[in-house]
């Protein structure tokens, strides 16, 4: 079982430290000779995230798993077990998702088989709100450049296209009311939460279905998959804030960078599970994962940020535009910037 393997590694990491300090000392115990190759592997892949902490944690985990029974799903403590993380652990997991490395498997190294729901839930919530807020801000800034756009805080959109918003002005699809009128926060929240929960569900289901093909590595549990996806969305937070800067190439660059980091994290995590499958299934699965991720990113960008091509704006629109916003004074009229 994977957990037992990990315990074995952790025990011998302490031995590794001892050996490293005193390489010439004769090993007092015979059993240290046996797991030398295990020691070597642990040194390579375990990293040095506080070896002593790992030993203590794994000892504690082993004890707890022996003692406690899994409480039923109707009890509160069942759900409490999914929030059993400390601040430092959450920060470490976030860091791990920001910097994916080919050898490092997110689930094994950062989650250590103890997934949590705190990270995915609050990262998704933050992302939804940040998307809505920055989408709002983009409208405000766009209006400063082009006063023919009427600003109204996009908690809703205007209920009818062209009613509160001047047709022919710039603005995102949201502002033009071409998409169904729904509160921006609701749209963002629904989209992100659906993605972060349904896609892992589908992925987990698929991996379970293909379980028979794999020998060595068991599939991830559902919660671990949700965790991986949730934490991988964290890199979009600074990206969305960067999208405020209305420089198109910068927006696409930061979007591509975030997508690359995020998708890389996902791929590196899934690769050990998938590589034992048939080549076709592996490639297919990974490309679908990356594709869905890309769809989410571009969908958010287009819905909340991307200005649609300006229709020719006739000057009379200026005269019929709404009273000046009280948020910012309208700048003197000038030709609409791109």
């Amino acid at each position: 079982m994977a957990a037992a393997d990990e315990l074995a590694f952790h025990e011998f990491e302490e031995a590794t430290n001892l050996l490293a300090q005193t390489p010439n000392e004769a090993t007092p115990r015979g059993d240290q000779l046996v797991p030398q190759q295990h020691v070597a592997v642990a040194v390579d892949s375990g990293g040095s995230y506080g070896a002593e902490d790992e030993v203590e944690e794994s000892d504690k985990t082993a004890l707890l798993q022996e003692e406690k029974q899994q409480p039923g799903f109707w009890t509160f403590s069942y759900y409490q077990s999914f929030f059993d993380v400390d601040t430092s652990q959450v920060l470490d997991r976030i860091k791990g998702s920001l910097l994916p490395r080919p050898g490092h498997n997110f689930v094994r190294h950062h989650l250590r088989n103890r997934p949590d729901l705190y990270g995915p839930f609050w990262i998704c919530a933050t992302l939804a709100f940040v998307l809505a807020v920055t989408g709002n801000l983009t409208l405000v800034l766009a209006q400063r450049r082009d006063p023919s756009i009427h600003y109204s805080p996009q908690f809703h959109k205007g209920k009818r296209s062209g009613q509160g918003l001047v047709p022919g002005g710039g603005g995102s699809a949201m502002a033009q009311g071409r998409l169904p009128a729904l509160p921006a926060v609701t749209v963002a929240g629904t989209a992100i939460y659906c993605y972060a929960w349904l896609v892992p569900l589908a992925l987990w289901g698929f991996l379970q279905w293909r379980k028979g093909v794999r020998e060595r590595m068991g599939p991830y549990t559902f919660l671990e998959t949700v965790c991986v996806y949730g934490y991988s969305l964290f890199v979009f937070l600074p990206t969305v804030v960067l999208w405020l800067i209305p420089v198109p190439w910068l927006q696409w660059l930061s979007g591509a960078l975030a997508l690359a980091l995020s998708a890389a994290g996902l791929v590196f995590t899934l690769w050990p599970v998938v590589r034992e499958d048939t080549r076709l299934a592996a490639v297919l699965l990974l490309s679908v994962v990356v594709l869905l991720h890309a769809l989410l990113a571009t969908g958010c960008k287009f819905y909340f940020f991307q200005p649609l091509p300006l229709e020719p704006a006739a000057p009379p629109h200026q005269a019929t535009s709404q009273p000046p916003t009280v948020l910012l004074s309208p700048p003197p009229p000038r030709s609409a910037a791109a």
Binding site: F76, Y79, Q80, F82, F83, D84, V85, D86, T87, S88, V90, Y118, W122, A125, T126, F129, V133, N136, Y151, S152, P153, Q154, F155, H156, K157, G158, K159, R160, Q163, G164, P183, Q322, P323, P324, T325, V326, L327, L328, S329
Partner: protein, 193 residues
């Protein structure tokens, strides 16, 4: 509603609670929020009247006249209500799941009362909006909202942080930060038409 220290010698009399006493209790909690000290008053004698009053006031002020409701981009009364109460419940659940030893209604009480600075900010913003619009107008409102936002966070943290295990305080406080940030955003982007 939590009972304040009733006289223990009244077993059967159905004396109606005097309104003034309740109002005084609510007022006292308002003062505790405005001058946050580490005291247990909010936690011990929790009540939900204060949060209700604040939430209704905030929702009313954030609403515009229904005449403009078609061009209206702002939140409606029910939305503000739902956001405040749903947000408070979510944060409370979160802190309980993380292992905090605060009761459900105590937490709701604290979060609701700590909206008071932001309600004050809303009042100030509405007054400022009566003046001439312009960048200075915006900067004043931004400043007021930021200060009140910080005040809300400090006040609620003073009451809530002690109930969390020490290595999870930040995890419990972050959702509070997000919650008040969203409310502050709603206040800041309010434009009457």
């Amino acid at each position: 509603m939590a009972e304040a220290a009733e006289s223990p010698g009244d077993p059967g009399t159905a004396t109606p609670r005097p309104l003034m006493r309740d109002l005084k209790a609510v007022g006292k909690k308002f003062m505790h929020v405005l001058y946050p000290r580490k005291s247990n008053t909010l936690l011990r004698d929790w009540d939900l009247w204060g949060p209700l009053i604040l939430c209704v006031t905030l929702a009313l002020m954030l609403q515009r006249g229904s005449v403009d409701s078609e061009k209206d981009g702002g939140p409606q009364f029910a939305e503000v209500f739902v956001i405040v109460w749903f947000g408070a419940v979510t944060i409370t659940l979160n802190s309980k799941l993380l292992g905090g030893n605060i009761s459900f209604f105590q937490s709701l009480c604290v979060l609701g009362y700590c909206i008071l600075p932001l309600t004050v900010a809303m009042l100030v913003c509405r007054l400022v909006l009566l003046a001439e619009p312009g960048p200075i107008n915006f900067m004043v409102r931004l400043f007021v909202v930021i200060v009140m936002f910080a005040w809300s966070i400090v006040a609620s943290t003073a009451f809530l942080a002690d109930s969390q295990p020490p290595n999870r305080k930040a995890l419990a406080v972050y959702p509070v930060f997000l919650f008040y940030f969203v409310i502050s955003w709603m206040i800041l982007t309010f434009t009457p038409q």
